[in-house]
């Protein structure tokens, strides 16, 4: 049985993590291809609904990454995002949604290696958790 290849979507901020991921590229650091990145101007821009949409559309894991505190290009986008994730993650966990599949991180434009590490560790963690059948099942009940 071929090993389970999780599909993971990453919501990243343009100024830090996206640039960090670029640096991972320019430094030719290899990492697992299971993660695909969607660019946002700032983590403050990432709507919590998008995480639900990702799970509904069949993602097995989600990465949300942006600037370190005090480094945000827009000064406070990441602070607002952090508060949003503290509450949202708590609510998801309370409703039984598997927050181990959602990895939040700070990756700066200079941390190419850290981005590769965040990706690899998340892919391995989700691979161990297996496909997100619970959520896929209710998504299928959506009549698709």
């Amino acid at each position: 049985m071929p090993e389970f290849e999780p599909r993971i979507v990453a919501f990243v901020c343009n100024w830090c993590t996206y640039a960090g991921a670029d640096l991972t590229g320019t430094s030719r650091i290899k990492y697992s291809p299971n993660v695909e990145v969607i660019r946002f101007p700032c983590t403050g821009r990432i709507d919590f609904m998008l995480l639900l949409k990702a799970f509904a559309e069949g993602a097995d894991g989600i990465i949300v990454s942006g600037c370190h505190p005090n480094d945000c290009h827009y000064t406070s986008g990441n602070f607002h995002a952090r508060r949003r994730w503290i509450l949202f993650r708590g609510l998801l966990d309370f409703m039984g949604i598997d927050v181990r599949r959602v990895q939040f991180s700070w990756v700066s434009a200079a941390e190419g290696a850290k981005w590769a590490d965040v990706v690899n560790t998340t892919v391995e963690a989700v691979r161990k958790l297996g496909p997100y059948d619970n959520y896929r099942q209710i998504a299928r009940s959506g009549g698709v």
Binding site: D22, G25, I38, C42, L50, T75, G77
Partner: protein, 673 residues
């Protein structure tokens, strides 16, 4: 129906090596809405760009997707190409299949599959792009130069000579920075004061430059072209207009025993002082921490002797506000001090000093009037050991980088010592000599061959004092790692160049990012060395990384050129990636319910209240409105808004939603027809 053109780049081998570009192009041809899908070796080359322009005209495309490198690299290039072909530039987006795909994955089916996904996601985004038009924002043609060192001076002069107003703010009582503390400068050994002071005077007398010394930045708000700065002019306790700079007060001041910052602690200064003779402005400052009047309320001697009654003990800090169009950060660097090297006895033995202190000894205006004398007993040292890389290139000490300038100034110090103390023996412990600049290597060879400086390749493990002598224990790796012990009279440490303390707080105040060592972060290490990630804020000098005078001046002129380019047009066109509150037909007028929870979330205070009134004037509802000049497009308000009334152009809710759906729903297109 959208007519999108997809252009997949091989980027030579960078993408082609691990991604099957033809297949990606073929696959994208199958996406509904894509009418033209090709691949080419170098999309960013002129022929590549012409391919795009022709395709836009031939297929009258309504959107362009370029699958190539990072948008942070060539987005402007392709957007300009589309604009020249008559397509709104914001209908062109890039899919990053190089840094995020080909460079980081092995050549395989999966990698090509991922590339197709990434392009397909951007196609869905472009399908929902709207043509956007740059926002016109007025530009205040006044520059703020922060820091009065050689970098700040050069930048200020260049901008002022280009005919724009400059406000220079310097923290210490006089401009000049570290360069004013130097004796001679490598590689030409010309006297630092001689080449610097004319520039300082030029700054002081330049009609376009307003100089604020002994001042700091209180706050900076606004954005490129429209900054508002608050400068705190610390109370000098001297009325600058009346004071003629005669210096009587500094001579008469009874408190003389204060270690002078300018002399790096070797010389002394009085409570009311002028840092150094050629100070600009040549106006004294009262050091309120040591002045007897401020401590005990007595003395006031300076006030009595002052011929023009310029002393103002009651002077308060004043806040100066100014409108600024661009900022040049030139706040310089510092060197590692004090008890960072117990193994060298630095800070414990008087005769173990750092580079700056040696400069002061060698400087004619220094405490020893240029003679090299031991701080402990004032005798001329017969043997001096210079230790390079003291703290730099040393992960255990937490400073891994090379400070770049120490090899050169250590060679200079040894040369100066040999010139001033003929019989003296000079040893330099080094790891590698970094002399890459023009005439640098020749300078070091001259120190070795003509001035007899003994270079010992090895690190010093310990310096300890014994019977009046400083015993330097090291090794000479070129002589089979023989332990070497030198009895020296004086040891000079070329300590690491580090960021100023307070650099981190300043960076946060200026909304500029910085690296792990608190040096300010440039926008791109190779391609944008003088810009920061914050539009309108530029970098010059050692505040960005340790560098010597030629590089600082070159960078300063670079920053000045950027500022002048910015000030060359009356209006600044700004990226239209800003938030907009929706409007719709009556009776709703907007889905915004006027709760204004978004207002508190906006870091730029860009959200205002707007009253919607009927024709007869009575108020229908109050809704939010975004000021296009202030909004920087971070989108936090969009995610905070419950009713999705506010949306971000370029990253609209529909677009990001479509991107998530596209990413996770691999279509037949991926199956590769």
């Amino acid at each position: 129906m959208s007519r999108i053109g997809v252009f997949i780049c091989h980027c030579g081998e960078n993408i082609g090596a691990t991604v099957d570009c033809e297949r990606v192009a073929r696959a994208c041809a199958g996406i509904p809405g894509v009418v033209h899908s090709v691949d080419y070796k170098y999309m960013c080359s002129d022929p590549g760009q012409n391919m795009i322009k022709d395709a836009i005209r031939d297929h009258n495309l309504t959107g362009v997707v370029v699958g190539a490198c990072s948008p942070r690299m060539h987005e402007p290039t392709f957007r300009r190409a589309c604009e020249e072909a008559g397509l709104n530039p914001f209908l062109c987006e890039m899919a990053n299949i190089r840094e995020h795909c080909s460079w980081v994955h092995e050549k395989s089916e999966v990698t090509t599959e991922k590339a197709i996904d990434l392009v397909r996601v951007i196609v869905e985004k472009v399908r929902r792009n709207k043509p956007l038009f740059p926002i016109k924002v007025p530009v205040t043609k006044t520059a703020l130069v922060l820091g009065g060192g050689i970098a700040g001076i050069q930048a200020a002069l260049d901008i002022a000579n280009a005919g724009h107003k400059v406000i220079m703010v310097e923290r210490s009582p006089s401009i000049g920075g570290h360069m004013s503390q130097l004796s001679e400068t490598f590689p030409t050994l010309d006297c630092s004061q001689c080449i610097l002071t004319p520039r300082m005077v030029e700054v002081a007398r330049h009609p376009n430059i307003t100089l604020h010394t002994y001042s700091e930045i209180e706050s900076l708000d606004g954005f490129i072209g429209n900054f508002k700065v608050k400068i705190r002019k610390k109370a000098r306790s001297v009325d600058e207009k009346l004071c003629t700079g005669c210096g009587l007060c500094t001579q008469k001041c009874p408190t003389k025993k204060i270690p002078s910052e300018f002399d790096a602690g070797l010389g002394m200064r009085s409570a009311i002082y002028v840092p150094f003779p050629q100070a600009v402005p040549n106006k004294p400052v009262i050091d309120r921490l040591h002045c007897t009047f401020f401590l005990k309320g007595k003395c006031r001697l300076c006030e009595k002797v002052c011929p023009t009654q310029a002393i103002r003990f009651d002077q308060e800090d004043t806040i100066v506000e100014a409108d600024i169009g661009a900022v040049v950060l030139a706040t310089g660097f510092d060197i590692k001090h004090a008890d960072f090297f117990p193994e060298y006895g630095y800070g414990a033995y008087k005769d173990v000093i750092d580079g700056l202190q040696f400069e002061r000894l060698a400087s004619a205006s220094g405490p020893t009037l240029g003679e090299i004398r031991r701080p402990s007993d004032g005798r001329k040292p017969e043997t001096v050991v210079f230790i390079a890389c003291a703290g730099s290139r040393d992960p255990a000490k937490g400073i891994e980088y090379c400070s770049k300038i120490c090899c050169m100034y250590t060679a200079k110090h040894a040369m100066l010592y040999r010139h001033k103390v003929h019989g003296g023996k000079a040893y330099i412990f080094y790891m590698d000599i970094r002399a890459g600049g023009k005439m640098y290597e020749e300078f070091v060879r001259r120190a070795i061959e003509e001035d007899g400086v003994r270079y010992v390749r090895g690190r010093v493990s310990r310096v300890y004092e014994r019977e009046g002598k400083l015993i330097v224990q090291g090794a000479d790796t070129l002589l089979g790692a023989q332990p070497v012990e030198i009895e020296a009279d004086m040891v000079v440490l070329a300590t690491a160049a580090v960021a100023n303390d307070g650099a981190e707080e300043l960076a946060q105040k200026m909304h500029v990012s910085y690296d792990a060592y608190k040096f300010f972060a440039e926008a791109h290490p190779k391609l944008k060395p003088v810009e920061t990630n914050t539009a309108g804020i530029f970098l010059a000098g050692a505040c960005q990384a340790p560098k010597d005078i030629p590089e600082s001046v070159a960078q300063a002129s670079g920053a000045a050129a950027k500022v002048s380019a910015l000030f060359s047009q009356d209006e600044l066109t700004r990226e239209p990636v800003i938030a907009v509150v929706n409007r719709c037909a009556p009776p709703l007028y907007s889905t915004c319910v006027g709760c204004f929870l978004c207002q508190a979330a906006c870091p730029y205070q860009a959200i205002e209240k707007e009253e919607i009134r009927a024709r007869d004037g009575n108020l229908i509802k109050t809704v939010a409105k975004v000021n296009p000049g202030l909004c920087q497009g971070c989108g936090t308000c969009v995610a905070v808004c419950r009713t999705k009334a506010i949306d971000l152009q370029g990253f609209s809710n529909e677009q990001v939603f479509a991107e998530v759906m596209a990413l996770l729903n691999r279509s037949e297109a991926n199956a590769g027809i």
